[in-house]
Symmetry: C2
Subunit: 544 residues, 2 copies
């Protein structure tokens, strides 16, 4: 897969310096072992974008105010979240300019391919889910005759079931801090049906999306910079951000781009030992499956090796499984780590495993509802009590998100009035996503100097771009990372927003970007044309 040598790019990172709390990784190309993945070197000048417009408004007299960049929590300064970073700020500015002055740019609209936010790009919600939510929000219409004409019979029935599970039918009350018990029962039953192994509703913590659940685990496991969390490179920047905010050390392990973003336990072992030799105590291993930003789906055999590795090394396995419904290729299938570990004979006493799920992804894409859960297994009751205590400080997650999480894990079944429509909506979305992934993947692989692994799952492509030296020099002159330079050029020329690979981490000297597969299908041909035309002219301008 690696068509292009990246050696010439290495000099750019020679002045990267090691941040105190982030471990210098070994990576596949050993001659590069003294430089850092770019996303880890947030303080290097090459990442300094022009500050967003608000900064330039800073009034000198503001210095009388007690809070300054110099006296806030330095962990916040260290934290980065590229998915909503500078490139998005620029996109928002362009959008405002387009609105105020149509025709001011060579495109009519901004296409946000920076973030897995399907409904913002026109994906429709699943009708059944929204019917149930609306009825639970306003239960007093449930027994009105007009309601029969507006809502499906099974949505009405499901709303009644859910209301009966809520003490006093009070959808406006704080719930148990882990979430409404009846909804956790439903979710546990859904997990059992998926895996073929028992699930305990008391292991479920419902959360406002998966992100707060990840933070909660990081908060639990990280006491100081000596505590390490093994994360894939490239990774979803929630992990690097959360580790930075909690003051721990990100211990990187590299996915192998050449083998379709393969995850080798030999690489895990090497990085683990390297970390330990530096006095870091790795506490957990993060695995994102299907992968974000890489889109790979792990083979079951590989998962078994990972489980065995965690068990042997005493690591908590943090399994980000929010894309479990997003698999697009016939030769791959999603298997939860819970199922895999149970199939190996490992139970509650053998392996500590936390699985994250969200209503934001899958075919539902209900990002704005902020629903999700974590299933916490192999954690002793006294530690789980501490997790409960932290959850209780925020009282509970939002009830609509809780309800939606239960619906996602227990959708309409054969014979239900909504079943046919539900299947049509679900299959329509998933098969379209598969076609979009393939079309974009092919288009990217047709570009000069670009290679792109297939998106087996999730919502992203992560192509590698072999940038000409002249482009790299131009980026250097503009005080910008080369991949960020490319992405800004792409945005300015086409209105397409993608995220530079440096936001996710990449082998030093290689450059990538992440692009979602989420624009509606009728827009894909135009995107391919715009991207292809842009890339050609970019290469024409900078070809060595």
């Amino acid at each position: 897969m690696r068509k292009f040598a990246s050696g010439g790019l290495r000099s750019l990172l020679i002045h990267s310096f090691q941040q105190k709390h982030i471990l210098r990784p070994h990576h596949p190309s050993s001659s590069l072992s003294s430089s850092l993945p770019r996303f880890l070197s947030s303080s290097t000048p090459v990442l300094d974008f022009t500050p967003p417009s608000t900064s330039s408004m800073a009034d000198p007299s503001a210095s009388k105010l007690p809070v300054t960049l110099q006296n806030i929590n330095p962990k916040i300064l260290k934290c980065e979240y590229a998915v909503r970073g500078e490139i998005v700020t620029l996109a928002q500015r362009l959008q405002e300019e387009l609105l105020a002055n149509p025709g001011s740019h060579p495109f009519d609209e901004i296409l946000y391919c920076n973030i897995g936010n399907p409904q913002s790009l026109g994906q429709h919600p699943i009708t059944f889910f929204r019917e149930v939510l609306a009825l639970c929000d306003h239960p007093s219409i449930l027994d009105k005759s007009e309601t029969q004409g507006l809502f499906s019979a099974d949505a009405i029935e499901r709303a009644w079931q859910i209301l009966d599970q809520i003490p006093g039918r009070a959808t406006g009350a704080y719930s148990h801090s882990q979430g409404i018990k009846g909804l956790r029962d439903t979710i546990a039953a859904g997990i059992e049906a998926r895996d073929g192994y028992p699930a305990d509703p008391n292991d479920i913590f419902l959360t406002d999306g998966a992100s707060p659940a990840v933070h909660m685990m990081m908060q639990l496991l990280i006491s100081s910079e000596q505590d390490g969390i093994l994360c894939p490179i490239p990774q979803y920047p929630l992990y690097s951000a959360s580790i930075a905010l909690h003051g721990g050390t990100l211990v990187p392990y590299f996915l192998d781009e050449a083998s379709g973003w393969g995850l080798e336990t030999s690489e895990l072992k090497k990085q683990l030992e390297d970390a330990r030799s530096k006095g870091i105590n790795p506490r957990a291993l993060v695995v994102i499956n299907p992968g974000n930003p890489t889109g790979q789906v792990l083979a079951e055999d590989n998962q078994r090796q990972i489980v065995e590795f965690c068990k042997q090394e005493g690591l908590v396995l943090l399994a980000d499984e929010v894309y479990q419904e997003n698999v697009y290729v016939p030769d791959k299938e999603f298997h939860s780590f819970k199922k895999v570990s149970r199939s190996m004979g490992y139970g509650e006493k053998d392996i500590s495993l936390v699985s994250f799920q969200s209503v934001s992804k899958g075919y539902y894409g209900e990002c704005g509802k902020r629903g999700g859960y974590m299933e916490v297994t192999g954690i002793s009751p006294d530690v789980r009590e501490q997790i409960y205590k932290v959850a209780s400080v925020n009282l509970c997650s939002n009830i609509s998100g809780q309800i939606l999480a239960s619906l996602v894990m227990s959708p309409p079944k054969v014979g239900d009035e909504s079943y046919e429509l539900y299947c049509a909506e679900k299959d329509g979305i998933l098969s379209s996503l598969a076609r979009r992934a393939k079309t974009l993947e092919d288009a990217l692989n047709n570009l000069e100097g670009v290679t792109c692994n297939r998106a087996e799952g999730a919502m992203y492509l992560f192509p590698r771009i072999n940038l000409p030296q002249k482009a790299i020099k131009a980026a250097e002159a503009a005080n910008t990372a080369p991949d960020a330079f490319y992405c800004r050029r792409l945005l300015n020329a086409t209105g397409i927003v993608v995220v530079p690979g440096s936001g996710f981490g990449q082998v030093p000297g290689t450059w990538h970007f992440r692009c979602t597969i989420l624009p509606q299908e009728d827009k894909i041909p135009a995107i391919v044309t715009r991207l292809t035309d842009f890339h050609k002219s970019f290469m024409d301008e900078f070809r060595d």
Copy 2:
């Protein structure tokens, strides 16, 4: 107000020890200055309840698992949240026993007076708010004819307005990380109408209830245990919990129970100087107005003194104003700190002020929706960018909560179809709360050895109980704080759940509990009777 000397109780706390990260306070009774408010001494044996039942299930073989109480983040162990603490765990167990075995206890139901959760106790949601939420959840019914029969015309119109403010009308998409711009415009307009001073939508951060907003500010301001946050004693334990989780130091200042929980700036000054003399750098002052758990409403003049104090001392004023709609007495009125500071001529450049608001309180009581916002003023643009970055790591707050926050700040107006019903619902709830507060206050003041300040606002009473020596000895023998001992006895005898004062902090040697005024009005007489009977028999058992 202080009918009883508390000197005899002091010896109990003599063995309290100072926790490293919590400042030993000066408090009004100077001879007690070497002991701590109880809530600050979480590690003292007197607070050790019998562990909840899950603990007793802990299997010895669980020790093979990698995560133990010994190797998790010690800040989590330090954190306490009494509102959902051991007493609630006990209540849940009793509730299960009642369900499994009716008649097993001397009461038929558990009355949760531990938490400001109105709808869990039967309060109905405001119809207009729920209509709009349901329509935004399922917009495809908006133009169906049956909808006209089910929903009010202004709810339909408002839903259209809101949908038009959301890009692509996508209520299932992630929004801007501060919240949907159009909703922030509405909220800013609502603040302007309330205060008579301008509000900027860019200062608004919509959050999942007020709690995450408080955490965000603590995360920003606390870098180490040297950073102090001035908090009232008694306080709402979100503050002590959040400060503990972020590793800062709680600098207590005492509200004066004798003057109706008065807030004296001389006390603020004394505690501030004491903290500074110990090497603590106080960064912010928390004021809860109307007060939680105390129920007092600050006089405008007092607020001016507080603003002046913060300005002079370079403190961020963190104004918890979530009870702004809950004022029950004709001689008091809510004034926002923003209005007060602007009326003093202080603007953006003069005072750093963060105001917290929530959809969980007021007459709406929509706790389960997790909506709220903070208005951040007097914070420089570069620091606000850092707050934005932290918000963006969690993407956005839930959209239903965002919508509800806009509705709360912009309810139906004269002439709207819903206006009359809205007013009737709102006034019905608020006037009933006022009556309940008065009835419970009078009943408490009629108990032997109990004094209770009036609930001018908020949702709580915080009576002081003068416990007999014999009861204190019995608590000591049971390894329990005396107020917790009383509360457990109350629960076991009556099913009424209240929270011991030690969960909020109190002058050492004094004992209190917090009781909400939220049970439905028809239940209040029975509660008064049960409480009165219990208290009499408790005193009969333990009277010295």
